[in-house]
Protein backbone atom coordinates (compact mmCIF):
# COMPACT_ATOMS: atom_id res chain seq x y z
CA UNK A 1 0.00 0.00 0.00
CA UNK A 2 1.26 3.48 -0.76
CA UNK A 3 2.50 5.65 2.08
CA UNK A 4 0.54 8.67 0.94
CA UNK A 5 -2.49 8.69 -1.33
CA UNK A 6 -4.82 11.49 -2.38
CA UNK A 7 -8.03 11.38 -4.37
CA UNK A 8 -9.62 14.56 -5.65
CA UNK A 9 -7.77 16.49 -2.95
CA UNK A 10 -8.59 20.18 -2.89
CA UNK A 11 -7.95 23.28 -0.80
CA UNK A 12 -10.05 26.40 -0.86
CA UNK A 13 -9.28 29.80 0.67
CA UNK A 14 -12.59 31.64 0.59
CA UNK A 15 -13.67 31.62 -3.05
CA UNK A 16 -10.18 30.90 -4.27
CA UNK A 17 -9.22 27.34 -5.15
CA UNK A 18 -5.53 26.81 -4.41
CA UNK A 19 -5.56 23.02 -4.96
CA UNK A 20 -8.12 21.78 -7.41
CA UNK A 21 -8.89 18.09 -7.09
CA UNK A 22 -5.54 16.33 -7.41
CA UNK A 23 -4.76 12.60 -7.26
CA UNK A 24 -1.36 11.15 -6.42
CA UNK A 25 0.31 8.30 -4.59
CA UNK A 26 3.71 8.14 -2.94
CA UNK A 27 5.36 4.76 -2.45
CA UNK A 28 7.72 3.78 0.34
CA UNK A 29 11.36 4.64 -0.36
CA UNK A 30 10.79 6.88 -3.34
CA UNK A 31 11.50 10.56 -3.82
CA UNK A 32 8.34 12.15 -5.10
CA UNK A 33 8.19 15.71 -6.37
CA UNK A 34 5.70 18.48 -7.03
CA UNK A 35 7.11 20.69 -9.77
CA UNK A 36 5.31 23.91 -10.48
CA UNK A 37 5.62 27.70 -10.72
CA UNK A 38 4.80 30.21 -7.95
CA UNK A 39 1.23 29.91 -6.77
CA UNK A 40 0.71 26.46 -8.30
CA UNK A 41 -0.55 25.12 -4.96
CA UNK A 42 2.56 23.17 -3.96
CA UNK A 43 2.80 24.50 -0.40
CA UNK A 44 -0.93 24.21 0.12
CA UNK A 45 -0.64 20.54 -0.83
CA UNK A 46 2.41 20.00 1.37
CA UNK A 47 0.64 21.58 4.34
CA UNK A 48 -2.25 19.18 3.91
CA UNK A 49 0.16 16.23 3.76
CA UNK A 50 1.92 17.61 6.83
CA UNK A 51 -1.44 17.65 8.67
CA UNK A 52 -1.32 21.36 9.43
CA UNK A 53 -4.10 22.26 7.01
CA UNK A 54 -7.49 20.59 6.65
CA UNK A 55 -8.41 19.52 3.11
CA UNK A 56 -11.49 21.32 1.75
CA UNK A 57 -12.46 18.33 -0.36
CA UNK A 58 -11.41 14.89 -1.53
CA UNK A 59 -9.67 12.23 0.49
CA UNK A 60 -6.17 11.93 1.88
CA UNK A 61 -4.51 8.95 3.54
CA UNK A 62 -1.10 9.25 5.13
CA UNK A 63 0.61 6.13 6.52
CA UNK A 64 -2.82 4.53 6.31
CA UNK A 65 -4.42 7.17 8.54
CA UNK A 66 -6.92 9.95 8.07
CA UNK A 67 -5.30 13.33 8.81
CA UNK A 68 -8.52 14.92 10.03
CA UNK A 69 -8.79 12.36 12.84
CA UNK A 70 -5.21 11.27 13.46
CA UNK A 71 -3.20 14.36 12.68
CA UNK A 72 -1.13 14.03 15.84
CA UNK A 73 -0.19 10.42 15.20
CA UNK A 74 0.68 11.14 11.59
CA UNK A 75 2.76 14.19 12.49
CA UNK A 76 4.75 12.12 14.98
CA UNK A 77 5.98 10.06 12.02
CA UNK A 78 6.72 12.89 9.59
CA UNK A 79 9.69 15.22 9.27
CA UNK A 80 8.88 18.65 7.90
CA UNK A 81 11.08 21.22 6.19
CA UNK A 82 8.76 24.16 5.58
CA UNK A 83 9.22 26.64 2.76
CA UNK A 84 9.92 29.40 5.28
CA UNK A 85 12.50 28.49 7.93
CA UNK A 86 11.15 28.72 11.46
CA UNK A 87 14.24 28.00 13.50
CA UNK A 88 14.61 29.82 16.79
CA UNK A 89 17.22 32.39 15.91
CA UNK A 90 18.13 33.14 19.50
CA UNK A 91 18.70 29.57 20.56
CA UNK A 92 21.86 27.73 19.61
CA UNK A 93 22.09 25.27 16.77
CA UNK A 94 22.03 22.28 19.13
CA UNK A 95 19.25 23.77 21.27
CA UNK A 96 17.06 24.09 18.19
CA UNK A 97 17.35 20.37 17.61
CA UNK A 98 16.85 19.68 21.30
CA UNK A 99 13.59 21.60 21.76
CA UNK A 100 12.13 20.25 18.55
CA UNK A 101 13.02 16.72 19.61
CA UNK A 102 11.29 17.34 22.92
CA UNK A 103 8.06 18.18 21.07
CA UNK A 104 8.18 14.52 20.00
CA UNK A 105 8.73 13.50 23.62
CA UNK A 106 12.12 12.01 22.80
CA UNK A 107 14.14 11.34 25.96
CA UNK A 108 17.14 13.54 26.67
CA UNK A 109 19.62 10.68 26.40
CA UNK A 110 18.35 9.71 22.95
CA UNK A 111 18.45 13.33 21.86
CA UNK A 112 22.01 13.81 22.98
CA UNK A 113 23.36 11.13 20.65
CA UNK A 114 20.98 11.97 17.82
CA UNK A 115 21.87 15.67 17.88
CA UNK A 116 25.56 14.83 17.58
CA UNK A 117 24.91 12.44 14.70
CA UNK A 118 22.64 14.83 12.84
CA UNK A 119 24.94 17.83 13.22
CA UNK A 120 27.67 15.67 11.80
CA UNK A 121 25.37 14.60 8.97
CA UNK A 122 24.57 18.18 7.96
CA UNK A 123 28.14 19.35 8.59
CA UNK A 124 27.31 21.75 11.39
CA UNK A 125 29.13 20.07 14.28
CA UNK A 126 31.51 23.00 14.67
CA UNK A 127 28.58 25.41 15.00
CA UNK A 128 26.69 23.35 17.62
CA UNK A 129 26.81 25.98 20.34
CA UNK A 130 26.57 29.04 18.08
CA UNK A 131 23.40 31.04 17.76
CA UNK A 132 21.36 30.39 14.62
CA UNK A 133 20.86 34.02 13.63
CA UNK A 134 24.24 34.65 11.95
CA UNK A 135 24.32 31.34 10.02
CA UNK A 136 24.22 31.46 6.22
CA UNK A 137 21.04 30.58 4.35
CA UNK A 138 22.47 27.22 3.33
CA UNK A 139 23.46 26.37 6.90
CA UNK A 140 19.99 27.27 8.20
CA UNK A 141 18.42 25.09 5.54
CA UNK A 142 20.67 22.18 6.54
CA UNK A 143 19.82 22.76 10.18
CA UNK A 144 16.11 22.69 9.32
CA UNK A 145 16.67 19.38 7.53
CA UNK A 146 18.52 18.01 10.57
CA UNK A 147 15.66 19.18 12.76
CA UNK A 148 13.15 17.38 10.55
CA UNK A 149 15.18 14.19 10.96
CA UNK A 150 15.38 14.33 14.76
CA UNK A 151 12.39 12.01 15.20
CA UNK A 152 13.65 9.51 12.59
CA UNK A 153 10.60 10.15 10.41
CA UNK A 154 9.23 7.65 7.92
CA UNK A 155 8.50 10.42 5.45
CA UNK A 156 10.44 13.63 4.95
CA UNK A 157 8.48 16.58 3.52
CA UNK A 158 10.64 19.26 1.90
CA UNK A 159 8.97 22.42 0.63
CA UNK A 160 11.42 24.07 -1.76
CA UNK A 161 14.52 22.78 0.02
CA UNK A 162 17.00 24.91 -1.94
CA UNK A 163 15.14 28.04 -3.03
CA UNK A 164 17.26 31.09 -2.37
CA UNK A 165 20.54 29.19 -2.01
CA UNK A 166 23.58 29.73 -4.17
CA UNK A 167 24.61 26.85 -6.49
CA UNK A 168 27.26 25.54 -4.15
CA UNK A 169 24.95 25.51 -1.14
CA UNK A 170 22.29 23.79 -3.26
CA UNK A 171 24.70 21.02 -4.14
CA UNK A 172 25.51 20.39 -0.50
CA UNK A 173 21.79 20.04 0.25
CA UNK A 174 21.20 17.78 -2.77
CA UNK A 175 24.08 15.60 -1.75
CA UNK A 176 22.57 15.16 1.74
CA UNK A 177 19.18 14.31 0.23
CA UNK A 178 20.77 11.68 -2.03
CA UNK A 179 22.36 10.13 1.02
CA UNK A 180 19.00 9.99 2.76
CA UNK A 181 17.49 8.42 -0.31
CA UNK A 182 20.14 5.72 -0.30
CA UNK A 183 19.22 5.10 3.33
CA UNK A 184 15.66 4.50 2.18
CA UNK A 185 13.97 7.63 3.57
CA UNK A 186 10.80 8.42 1.62
CA UNK A 187 10.89 12.05 0.50
CA UNK A 188 8.21 14.33 -0.84
CA UNK A 189 9.51 17.61 -2.15
CA UNK A 190 8.35 20.64 -4.03
CA UNK A 191 10.44 22.77 -6.30
CA UNK A 192 10.20 25.20 -9.13
CA UNK A 193 13.65 24.27 -10.36
CA UNK A 194 13.48 21.73 -13.11
CA UNK A 195 17.10 20.70 -12.58
CA UNK A 196 16.33 19.98 -8.92
CA UNK A 197 13.35 17.86 -9.92
CA UNK A 198 15.46 15.99 -12.47
CA UNK A 199 18.30 15.45 -10.04
CA UNK A 200 16.32 14.31 -7.05
CA UNK A 201 12.96 12.86 -8.03
CA UNK A 202 12.18 9.29 -8.94
CA UNK A 203 8.73 10.39 -9.88
CA UNK A 204 7.01 13.73 -10.00
CA UNK A 205 3.85 15.53 -10.89
CA UNK A 206 3.78 18.81 -12.73
CA UNK A 207 1.40 21.24 -11.04
CA UNK A 208 -0.11 24.37 -12.48
CA UNK A 209 -2.90 26.53 -11.06
CA UNK A 210 -3.93 23.94 -8.52
CA UNK A 211 -4.08 21.06 -10.97
CA UNK A 212 -1.78 18.21 -11.86
CA UNK A 213 -1.04 18.44 -15.57
CA UNK A 214 1.34 15.48 -15.93
CA UNK A 215 2.85 12.66 -13.93
CA UNK A 216 5.82 10.32 -14.38
CA UNK A 217 9.57 9.96 -13.96
CA UNK A 218 11.62 12.89 -15.29
CA UNK A 219 12.69 10.76 -18.22
CA UNK A 220 9.16 9.57 -18.99
CA UNK A 221 7.85 13.11 -18.92
CA UNK A 222 10.53 14.33 -21.31
CA UNK A 223 9.90 11.42 -23.67
CA UNK A 224 6.17 11.92 -23.57
CA UNK A 225 5.94 15.69 -23.81
CA UNK A 226 9.10 16.82 -25.55
CA UNK A 227 11.58 15.85 -28.24
CA UNK A 228 15.06 14.54 -27.67
CA UNK A 229 16.73 17.84 -28.48
CA UNK A 230 15.93 21.50 -28.59
CA UNK A 231 17.40 24.16 -30.83
CA UNK A 232 17.45 27.58 -29.18
CA UNK A 233 17.68 30.51 -31.53
CA UNK A 234 18.22 33.97 -30.08
CA UNK A 235 17.06 37.18 -31.68
CA UNK A 236 16.59 40.07 -29.33
CA UNK A 237 14.37 42.42 -31.24
CA UNK A 238 12.80 40.37 -33.96
CA UNK A 239 11.67 37.16 -32.36
CA UNK A 240 8.36 37.24 -34.22
CA UNK A 241 10.13 37.75 -37.56
CA UNK A 242 12.35 34.80 -36.70
CA UNK A 243 9.37 32.69 -35.71
CA UNK A 244 7.60 33.45 -38.99
CA UNK A 245 10.70 32.50 -40.97
CA UNK A 246 11.00 29.27 -39.00
CA UNK A 247 7.32 28.49 -39.57
CA UNK A 248 7.79 28.83 -43.32
CA UNK A 249 10.89 26.65 -43.07
CA UNK A 250 8.81 24.07 -41.21
CA UNK A 251 6.62 23.56 -44.26
CA UNK A 252 9.55 21.76 -45.82
CA UNK A 253 10.58 18.30 -44.72
CA UNK A 254 13.89 17.00 -43.43
CA UNK A 255 16.36 16.54 -46.32
CA UNK A 256 17.71 13.38 -44.67
CA UNK A 257 14.68 11.46 -43.52
CA UNK A 258 11.77 13.09 -45.26
CA UNK A 259 10.07 13.58 -41.88
CA UNK A 260 8.93 17.04 -40.79
CA UNK A 261 11.95 19.26 -40.05
CA UNK A 262 10.89 19.81 -36.46
CA UNK A 263 7.91 18.93 -34.32
CA UNK A 264 7.06 22.19 -32.65
CA UNK A 265 8.11 25.78 -32.34
CA UNK A 266 7.76 27.88 -29.19
CA UNK A 267 8.27 31.61 -29.10
CA UNK A 268 9.67 33.20 -25.93
CA UNK A 269 10.35 36.92 -25.38
CA UNK A 270 14.03 36.69 -26.34
CA UNK A 271 14.33 33.43 -28.23
CA UNK A 272 12.61 30.76 -30.25
CA UNK A 273 12.73 27.06 -29.40
CA UNK A 274 12.55 24.36 -32.04
CA UNK A 275 11.68 20.86 -30.88
CA UNK A 276 13.33 18.12 -32.90
CA UNK A 277 15.03 14.79 -32.38
CA UNK A 278 18.02 15.86 -34.50
CA UNK A 279 19.30 19.26 -33.44
CA UNK A 280 22.45 19.49 -35.53
CA UNK A 281 20.65 18.35 -38.66
CA UNK A 282 18.06 21.04 -38.05
CA UNK A 283 20.78 23.68 -37.69
CA UNK A 284 22.40 22.55 -40.92
CA UNK A 285 19.13 23.20 -42.76
CA UNK A 286 18.39 26.67 -41.37
CA UNK A 287 19.33 28.14 -44.75
CA UNK A 288 18.19 31.77 -45.04
CA UNK A 289 17.17 31.98 -41.38
CA UNK A 290 19.91 33.89 -39.54
CA UNK A 291 19.43 34.21 -35.75
CA UNK A 292 21.96 35.98 -33.49
CA UNK A 293 23.04 32.72 -31.94
CA UNK A 294 22.11 29.06 -32.10
CA UNK A 295 22.37 26.44 -29.39
CA UNK A 296 21.48 22.77 -29.45
CA UNK A 297 20.67 21.15 -26.10
CA UNK A 298 18.85 18.19 -24.60
CA UNK A 299 15.21 18.56 -23.59
CA UNK A 300 14.54 19.24 -19.93
CA UNK A 301 11.51 19.36 -17.67
CA UNK A 302 11.37 23.07 -18.41
CA UNK A 303 10.41 22.15 -21.97
CA UNK A 304 7.81 19.73 -20.65
CA UNK A 305 6.32 22.49 -18.57
CA UNK A 306 6.37 24.95 -21.45
CA UNK A 307 4.61 22.46 -23.68
CA UNK A 308 1.97 21.61 -21.08
CA UNK A 309 1.16 25.14 -19.95
CA UNK A 310 2.52 27.48 -22.60
CA UNK A 311 4.50 29.25 -19.87
CA UNK A 312 8.00 29.06 -18.41
CA UNK A 313 8.56 27.77 -14.87
CA UNK A 314 10.74 30.55 -13.52
CA UNK A 315 10.08 33.98 -14.91
Amino acid sequence: MSLIAAWGLSKQFGDFTAVDGIDFEVERGEVFGFLGPNGAGKSSTMRMIGCVSDPSGGALRILGMDPSREGTNIRSRLGVVPQQDNLDEELSVAENLYVYGRYFDLPRSVLRTRIAELLDFVQLSERASDHVEPLSGGMKRRLTIARALISEPEVLLLDEPTTGLDPQARHVVWERLWTLKRQGVTQVLTTHYMDEAEQLCDRLVVMDRGKIVAEGSPRQLIERYSTREVVELRAHDQVSVLTDALRRLGERSDGYSGDPLYERVEELPDRVLLYTDHGERMVAQLGEVKPESVLVRRSTLEDVFLHLTGRTLVD
Binding site: V52, D54, R75, E89
Partner: protein, 264 residues
Protein backbone atom coordinates in the same frame (compact mmCIF):
# COMPACT_ATOMS: atom_id res chain seq x y z
CA UNK B 1 7.98 -0.89 12.29
CA UNK B 2 6.19 -0.73 15.58
CA UNK B 3 6.19 2.69 17.16
CA UNK B 4 4.37 3.95 20.15
CA UNK B 5 2.34 7.03 19.43
CA UNK B 6 3.62 10.17 21.08
CA UNK B 7 1.38 11.50 23.82
CA UNK B 8 1.28 15.21 23.20
CA UNK B 9 1.44 17.25 26.32
CA UNK B 10 1.51 20.96 27.02
CA UNK B 11 4.52 20.22 29.21
CA UNK B 12 6.59 19.58 26.08
CA UNK B 13 5.73 23.04 24.81
CA UNK B 14 6.53 24.66 28.17
CA UNK B 15 10.06 23.32 27.89
CA UNK B 16 10.67 25.55 24.91
CA UNK B 17 9.63 28.66 26.81
CA UNK B 18 11.71 27.73 29.83
CA UNK B 19 14.72 27.30 27.59
CA UNK B 20 14.29 30.83 26.28
CA UNK B 21 13.71 32.05 29.85
CA UNK B 22 17.00 30.57 30.97
CA UNK B 23 18.67 33.01 28.65
CA UNK B 24 17.20 36.17 30.16
CA UNK B 25 16.01 35.34 33.63
CA UNK B 26 18.40 37.73 35.33
CA UNK B 27 17.10 40.76 33.50
CA UNK B 28 13.58 39.58 34.01
CA UNK B 29 13.97 39.22 37.79
CA UNK B 30 15.67 42.60 38.02
CA UNK B 31 12.73 44.27 36.26
CA UNK B 32 10.28 42.45 38.52
CA UNK B 33 12.19 43.88 41.46
CA UNK B 34 12.68 47.46 40.29
CA UNK B 35 9.14 48.10 39.22
CA UNK B 36 7.55 47.69 42.70
CA UNK B 37 10.46 49.53 44.33
CA UNK B 38 9.82 52.57 42.15
CA UNK B 39 6.05 52.48 42.49
CA UNK B 40 5.99 51.92 46.24
CA UNK B 41 8.63 54.55 46.90
CA UNK B 42 7.00 57.21 44.74
CA UNK B 43 3.35 56.60 45.45
CA UNK B 44 3.32 54.63 48.67
CA UNK B 45 5.80 56.75 50.58
CA UNK B 46 5.74 60.03 48.65
CA UNK B 47 2.07 60.39 47.87
CA UNK B 48 1.12 58.28 50.88
CA UNK B 49 2.51 60.76 53.41
CA UNK B 50 0.23 63.42 51.94
CA UNK B 51 -2.82 61.18 51.87
CA UNK B 52 -2.28 59.95 55.41
CA UNK B 53 -1.90 63.53 56.65
CA UNK B 54 -5.13 64.60 54.90
CA UNK B 55 -7.32 61.55 55.31
CA UNK B 56 -5.62 60.43 58.49
CA UNK B 57 -5.88 56.67 57.94
CA UNK B 58 -9.53 57.40 57.52
CA UNK B 59 -12.56 55.25 57.05
CA UNK B 60 -12.39 55.65 53.24
CA UNK B 61 -9.29 53.46 53.10
CA UNK B 62 -10.79 50.97 55.52
CA UNK B 63 -8.56 52.15 58.31
CA UNK B 64 -5.38 51.46 56.36
CA UNK B 65 -2.29 53.57 55.76
CA UNK B 66 -2.12 54.61 52.14
CA UNK B 67 0.96 52.42 51.55
CA UNK B 68 -0.82 49.36 52.98
CA UNK B 69 -3.86 50.16 50.87
CA UNK B 70 -1.97 50.79 47.65
CA UNK B 71 0.67 48.04 47.67
CA UNK B 72 -1.64 44.99 47.27
CA UNK B 73 -3.62 46.88 44.62
CA UNK B 74 -0.45 47.50 42.68
CA UNK B 75 0.48 43.86 43.09
CA UNK B 76 -2.65 42.90 41.14
CA UNK B 77 -2.29 45.78 38.67
CA UNK B 78 1.33 44.92 38.00
CA UNK B 79 0.38 41.30 37.30
CA UNK B 80 -2.22 42.51 34.82
CA UNK B 81 0.28 44.72 32.99
CA UNK B 82 2.85 41.98 32.80
CA UNK B 83 0.29 39.45 31.58
CA UNK B 84 -0.90 41.80 28.87
CA UNK B 85 2.70 42.26 27.69
CA UNK B 86 3.26 38.53 27.61
CA UNK B 87 0.06 37.81 25.70
CA UNK B 88 0.30 40.41 22.94
CA UNK B 89 3.60 40.66 21.04
CA UNK B 90 5.01 37.25 22.03
CA UNK B 91 1.76 35.58 20.91
CA UNK B 92 1.59 37.33 17.55
CA UNK B 93 5.32 36.60 17.19
CA UNK B 94 4.64 32.91 17.70
CA UNK B 95 2.43 32.96 14.63
CA UNK B 96 4.17 35.57 12.56
CA UNK B 97 7.67 36.76 13.45
CA UNK B 98 9.43 33.96 15.30
CA UNK B 99 6.96 31.34 14.08
CA UNK B 100 7.50 29.30 17.23
CA UNK B 101 3.92 28.07 17.19
CA UNK B 102 4.20 27.18 13.52
CA UNK B 103 7.21 24.99 14.23
CA UNK B 104 5.37 23.36 17.14
CA UNK B 105 2.30 22.78 14.98
CA UNK B 106 4.27 20.57 12.59
CA UNK B 107 5.19 18.30 15.50
CA UNK B 108 2.70 16.01 17.29
CA UNK B 109 1.65 18.92 19.52
CA UNK B 110 -1.90 20.13 18.99
CA UNK B 111 -3.26 23.67 19.05
CA UNK B 112 -4.36 23.33 22.64
CA UNK B 113 -1.00 21.90 23.76
CA UNK B 114 0.77 24.81 22.13
CA UNK B 115 -1.48 27.33 23.82
CA UNK B 116 -1.56 25.66 27.23
CA UNK B 117 2.22 25.45 27.07
CA UNK B 118 2.54 29.17 26.52
CA UNK B 119 -0.16 30.01 29.10
CA UNK B 120 1.61 27.88 31.68
CA UNK B 121 4.81 29.76 31.03
CA UNK B 122 3.03 33.14 31.26
CA UNK B 123 1.49 32.08 34.57
CA UNK B 124 4.94 31.09 35.79
CA UNK B 125 6.39 34.45 34.81
CA UNK B 126 3.58 36.43 36.40
CA UNK B 127 3.60 34.35 39.59
CA UNK B 128 7.34 34.74 39.96
CA UNK B 129 7.18 38.50 39.42
CA UNK B 130 4.32 38.72 41.92
CA UNK B 131 6.32 36.93 44.59
CA UNK B 132 9.20 39.33 44.01
CA UNK B 133 6.65 42.13 44.31
CA UNK B 134 5.43 40.71 47.63
CA UNK B 135 9.00 40.59 48.85
CA UNK B 136 9.44 44.27 48.08
CA UNK B 137 6.10 45.05 49.77
CA UNK B 138 7.29 43.27 52.90
CA UNK B 139 10.53 45.25 52.81
CA UNK B 140 8.47 48.44 52.69
CA UNK B 141 6.51 47.19 55.68
CA UNK B 142 3.33 47.05 53.64
CA UNK B 143 2.30 43.53 54.61
CA UNK B 144 0.32 42.89 57.77
CA UNK B 145 -0.96 39.32 57.50
CA UNK B 146 0.70 35.93 56.97
CA UNK B 147 -2.08 35.20 54.45
CA UNK B 148 -0.23 37.61 52.18
CA UNK B 149 1.85 34.70 50.86
CA UNK B 150 -1.27 33.70 48.91
CA UNK B 151 -1.64 37.12 47.34
CA UNK B 152 0.85 36.52 44.48
CA UNK B 153 -1.18 33.49 43.41
CA UNK B 154 -4.30 35.64 43.25
CA UNK B 155 -2.39 38.33 41.39
CA UNK B 156 -1.29 35.71 38.88
CA UNK B 157 -4.90 34.59 38.45
CA UNK B 158 -5.83 38.20 37.84
CA UNK B 159 -3.05 38.41 35.23
CA UNK B 160 -4.14 35.23 33.50
CA UNK B 161 -7.74 36.43 33.43
CA UNK B 162 -6.33 39.10 31.10
CA UNK B 163 -3.75 37.04 29.27
CA UNK B 164 -6.07 34.27 28.08
CA UNK B 165 -8.72 36.39 26.34
CA UNK B 166 -6.01 38.74 25.08
CA UNK B 167 -4.10 35.86 23.50
CA UNK B 168 -7.36 34.53 22.04
CA UNK B 169 -7.90 37.89 20.38
CA UNK B 170 -4.29 38.32 19.27
CA UNK B 171 -4.47 34.96 17.47
CA UNK B 172 -7.01 36.51 15.11
CA UNK B 173 -4.79 39.51 14.27
CA UNK B 174 -2.64 39.82 11.17
CA UNK B 175 -0.47 42.59 12.61
CA UNK B 176 0.13 44.54 15.81
CA UNK B 177 -1.86 47.60 14.68
CA UNK B 178 -4.43 47.52 17.47
CA UNK B 179 -2.14 46.59 20.32
CA UNK B 180 -1.27 50.09 21.51
CA UNK B 181 -4.93 51.13 21.28
CA UNK B 182 -5.76 48.12 23.41
CA UNK B 183 -3.19 48.94 26.10
CA UNK B 184 -3.97 52.65 26.06
CA UNK B 185 -7.75 52.53 26.04
CA UNK B 186 -8.60 49.20 27.65
CA UNK B 187 -5.79 48.17 29.96
CA UNK B 188 -4.65 51.59 31.19
CA UNK B 189 -8.15 52.74 32.20
CA UNK B 190 -8.59 49.53 34.15
CA UNK B 191 -5.30 50.18 35.88
CA UNK B 192 -6.46 53.68 36.81
CA UNK B 193 -10.13 53.09 37.66
CA UNK B 194 -10.30 49.68 39.31
CA UNK B 195 -9.56 50.43 42.92
CA UNK B 196 -5.77 50.24 42.90
CA UNK B 197 -5.15 53.87 43.88
CA UNK B 198 -8.42 54.66 45.69
CA UNK B 199 -11.60 52.76 46.54
CA UNK B 200 -13.96 52.59 43.55
CA UNK B 201 -16.70 53.92 45.85
CA UNK B 202 -15.09 57.32 45.24
CA UNK B 203 -16.20 57.09 41.60
CA UNK B 204 -19.60 58.01 40.15
CA UNK B 205 -21.88 55.01 40.51
CA UNK B 206 -21.80 54.14 36.77
CA UNK B 207 -18.02 53.95 36.73
CA UNK B 208 -18.08 52.04 39.98
CA UNK B 209 -20.37 49.42 38.48
CA UNK B 210 -18.18 49.13 35.41
CA UNK B 211 -15.19 48.64 37.67
CA UNK B 212 -16.90 45.66 39.33
CA UNK B 213 -16.89 43.88 35.98
CA UNK B 214 -13.18 44.23 35.38
CA UNK B 215 -11.01 41.30 36.42
CA UNK B 216 -8.47 43.64 37.94
CA UNK B 217 -10.97 44.96 40.53
CA UNK B 218 -11.54 41.38 41.71
CA UNK B 219 -7.80 40.78 41.78
CA UNK B 220 -7.22 43.96 43.76
CA UNK B 221 -9.90 43.04 46.33
CA UNK B 222 -8.38 39.60 46.76
CA UNK B 223 -4.82 40.77 47.15
CA UNK B 224 -5.79 43.53 49.53
CA UNK B 225 -7.82 41.20 51.74
CA UNK B 226 -4.99 38.67 51.92
CA UNK B 227 -2.26 41.22 52.48
CA UNK B 228 -4.10 43.03 55.26
CA UNK B 229 -5.83 39.97 56.68
CA UNK B 230 -9.24 41.58 56.62
CA UNK B 231 -11.78 38.76 56.39
CA UNK B 232 -14.41 38.93 53.60
CA UNK B 233 -14.34 35.10 53.17
CA UNK B 234 -17.44 34.71 51.04
CA UNK B 235 -16.64 37.69 48.92
CA UNK B 236 -13.20 36.23 48.30
CA UNK B 237 -14.64 33.04 46.90
CA UNK B 238 -16.77 35.11 44.55
CA UNK B 239 -13.72 37.02 43.32
CA UNK B 240 -11.76 33.83 42.82
CA UNK B 241 -14.63 32.20 40.94
CA UNK B 242 -14.95 35.22 38.67
CA UNK B 243 -11.24 35.17 37.76
CA UNK B 244 -11.15 31.42 37.25
CA UNK B 245 -14.24 31.62 35.05
CA UNK B 246 -12.60 34.29 32.89
CA UNK B 247 -9.47 32.17 32.57
CA UNK B 248 -11.50 29.15 31.50
CA UNK B 249 -13.53 31.11 28.98
CA UNK B 250 -10.41 32.81 27.64
CA UNK B 251 -8.62 29.48 27.28
CA UNK B 252 -11.60 27.93 25.53
CA UNK B 253 -11.83 30.75 23.00
CA UNK B 254 -8.04 30.80 22.56
CA UNK B 255 -8.11 27.09 21.88
CA UNK B 256 -10.43 27.79 18.95
CA UNK B 257 -8.59 30.82 17.59
CA UNK B 258 -5.17 29.17 17.92
CA UNK B 259 -6.29 25.97 16.25
CA UNK B 260 -7.99 27.84 13.46
CA UNK B 261 -4.93 29.96 12.80
CA UNK B 262 -2.41 27.12 12.99
CA UNK B 263 -4.33 24.50 11.06
CA UNK B 264 -6.36 26.61 8.64
Amino acid sequence: MARTAVIPRPKLAVEYWLLTYRRNWKGSILTSFLSPVLFLAAMGLGLGSLVDAEVGSGRDLGGLDYLDFLAPGLLAGNAMMLAVNESTYPVLGGFKWYRTYVAMASSPLRGRDILLGHFTYMAFRVTLASFVFLGVMAAFGAVSSPLAVLAPICAALCGMAFATPTAAFVATRINADNFSTYTRFVVMPMFLFSGIFYPVSQLPIVLEQIAWLTPVWHGVRLCRALSTGSGMEWELIGHLAYLVALILIGTLIASRTFTRRLYE
